[in-house]
């Protein structure tokens, strides 16, 4: 009986979908040409990779903003009578004892929930900062060219020549207490070169386009050409690189915190928790596993989003 209703529902729903999709994206009766952006959005919604990553990222953002929704226990409340060797109660979903307790008797579940905030803030803030700074740098170098480009490119090479993780370690080592914002600045200080390179290349390609020449011939000012003509057409590859880099920055923060040179207590960070759990790896691997899995899922979500955005924006892959 249920088979019949299933079968009956599918064909009924299918034409409905077909009718709705074009009507939602095109206003005219006969295919009005879609812009790159609406075309990309059209593609994105159909990509399962995008849907999965969007749901994951939505949960991460909610967790970062209102961790209290997920647990009522403080991540800093330690009770030394609850030993870390007591195995986790995997049956008690979302309870404080769900993922067990760490060496100081703090609920691992609560720490995993509260750790989302630092990771999300670092990832988003570094990406925004790097995109604005690197984008400006690359745009100036790419558009004006000549001696200015030569000088800016050497500066870019200099920063790119410094090993990323090692450089960040040296910068962060100068601070005794490292808050989220110090880590953000340190990562952005060394991380802007990638975006700057991509923007520079993209702007150089775009500025040779006919419409840019036409705008110049019509007497448009430099500011207008850059903002109205070059920026909208050169920004696609930059967005792709920035989205993928976001996951990388989250991994970098976790790696630095793990090394003891990133965030410092009392900030709750997955990297710090992995580092604390490594001493009990042989007897109580769950202490290390929970924060490690959370870092991986978070990075995975952003890398998947980046992949999906690239597939949607790159016409070569169609």
């Amino acid at each position: 009986m249920s088979d019949v209703t299933e079968a009956a529902r599918v064909p009924a729903a299918a034409p409905d979908l077909e009718k709705n999709a074009p009507a939602g994206t095109e206003s005219g009766p006969v295919g009005k040409p879609r812009s790159l952006w609406s075309d990309a959005w059209h593609d994105l919604r159909r990509n399962p990779l995008f849907v999965v990553s969007a749901i994951l990222i939505f949960f991460l953002l909610v967790m970062a903003a209102w961790p209290g929704l997920f647990t009522s226990v403080s991540p800093r409340h330690g009770d030394l009578s609850t030993h870390y060797l007591k195995s986790p109660e995997y049956g008690h979903l979302f309870s404080p004892e769900w993922l067990g307790y760490d060496a100081q008797g703090r609920s691992i579940y609560a720490r995993v929930v509260y750790g989302a905030r630092a990771s999300v803030i670092v990832g988003v803030a570094v990406t925004l900062l790097v995109t604005v700074l690197g984008g400006l740098f690359g745009m100036v170098a790419g558009y004006f060219g000549g001696w200015l480009d030569s000088i800016l490119s050497r500066i870019l090479d200099t920063f790119a020549g410094v090993p990323f993780l090692l450089g960040a370690m040296v910068v962060l080592n100068t601070f005794d207490v490292r808050t989220v914002w110090i880590v953000v600045l340190a990562l952005a200080f060394l991380g802007w070169t990638q975006i700057a390179r991509v923007t520079r290349g993209s702007v150089i390609t775009t500025k040779q386009a006919d419409y840019v020449q036409a705008a110049k011939a019509l007497g448009a000012g430099t500011g207008r050409i850059l903002l109205r003509h070059i920026l909208p057409n050169a920004v696609a590859p930059v967005i792709v690189v920035a989205t993928i880099a976001l996951g990388g920055y989250i991994a970098a923060e976790a790696s630095l915190s793990y090394l003891g040179i990133g965030l410092s207590e009392p900030t709750v960070s997955w990297g710090i928790d992995v580092s604390a759990g490594k001493d009990q790896l042989r007897n109580a691997p769950h202490v290390l596993l929970a924060p490690a899995v959370m870092v991986s899922i978070t990075v995975l979500a952003f890398i998947m989003l980046g992949d999906a955005v690239r597939n949607a924006l790159d016409p070569k892959l169609r």
Binding site: T158, P163, M169, T174, A292
Partner: protein, 309 residues
């Protein structure tokens, strides 16, 4: 060709000066006095500290210290460790072979496994193997190396008892296997993806259709025509990656207790041993610059259309 090499060498001079200066300034603007720290809590005659600083050249203004350091580099002098009094070049010289062995092992693994998996995936685009590789590389990129390292250590050393959890003898193949695979895993994912994309793109090109149409055997079409054209972006990546493997060994060496450059720089950073940190970073910058020049020259070998002027 000769002129191109000269121009590239000239271009790398400001980059070299800039990158070392950047690290030098960051390191020596650290608060705390490494010379005073030698005595710990004990009281010490300020004149003794001043004399020792004069000996080490630490009483000079920062720009002069950098100048002396820079001149010293050309004579192979990387400075002196303050606490032990040993030359930094000697300390690095002990640790470097271990890291180079580890990095080359990881590099070989990445290159061989990455290119072959990427070619297989590219030739079977959108089939099951390709989809599987896509997912596998996604996982490798997402899992940070410190997580991968501990998971590998737990599974292969503690549970299955197949490998030693930490490296006892850095020349033994079996000991280095796990750290090398962990170190190379991120690059492996990138190499697979780059090779795959490149293969898929080139498979649609005219010269491949021509090669198939004129009846060349499949092995020759793929092995010679397709591979040579598809490997250019992969070679670029692998080149810059060799430097990254040397620098990225900090985490892997820590997990598996490899006594290499990564461990050395980590300890030096915590002991605020400026000369060692600056020395190692300088060395990495030199390697990075040399490798990127070699990669640029390799293009001409892979693609005869590229001419250097």
């Amino acid at each position: 060709m000769g002129r191109y090499v000269v121009r590239r060498l000239l271009q790398s001079i400001p980059v070299f000066i800039g990158a070392t200066l950047l690290i030098f300034l960051m390191m020596y603007s650290l608060p705390g006095d490494p010379v005073r720290a030698l005595w710990g809590e004990q009281s010490v005659d300020p004149a003794q500290i001043a004399a020792m600083k004069k000996d080490l050249g630490l009483d000079l203004p920062l720009w002069q210290q950098y100048w002396n350091y820079f001149i010293g580099l050309f004579q192979g002098d990387f400075g002196t460790q303050i606490a032990s009094g040993r030359p930094v070049s000697e300390v690095i010289g002990e640790a470097l072979p271990v890291t180079i062995r580890l990095a080359l092992f990881a590099f070989t693994f990445t290159t061989l496994a990455g290119i072959s998996l990427g070619v297989l995936a590219g030739l079977r685009a959108d089939r099951l193997f390709d989809r599987g590789m896509l997912f596998f590389t996604l996982l490798l990129i997402s899992v940070p190396s410190f997580v991968l390292g501990y998971v590998a250590q737990f599974v292969f050393a503690f549970k299955l008892d197949l490998l030693t959890p930490t490296v006892q003898d850095s020349e033994a193949f079996g000991d280095l296997l796990m750290p090398a695979v962990v170190l190379g895993s991120l690059s492996l994912a990138y190499v697979v993806r780059l090779t795959r994309t490149s293969i898929v793109e080139n498979l649609r090109s005219d010269y491949i259709r021509t090669a198939i149409a004129k009846g060349l055997p499949r092995r020759r079409v793929i092995g010679v025509h397709l591979m040579r054209n598809s490997l250019i972006p992969v070679v670029t990546f692998l080149g810059t990656d060799l430097g990254a493997l040397l620098g990225g060994a900090v985490i892997t060496e820590g997990i598996f207790n490899v006594q290499g450059v990564g461990n050395l720089v980590y300890d030096a950073l915590f002991r605020r041993e400026g000369s060692t940190v600056v020395g190692i970073v300088t060395l990495l910058v030199i390697i990075y610059l040399a490798v990127s020049l070699i990669v640029d020259l390799l293009y001409a070998v892979l693609d005869p259309r590229i001419r250097y002027v």
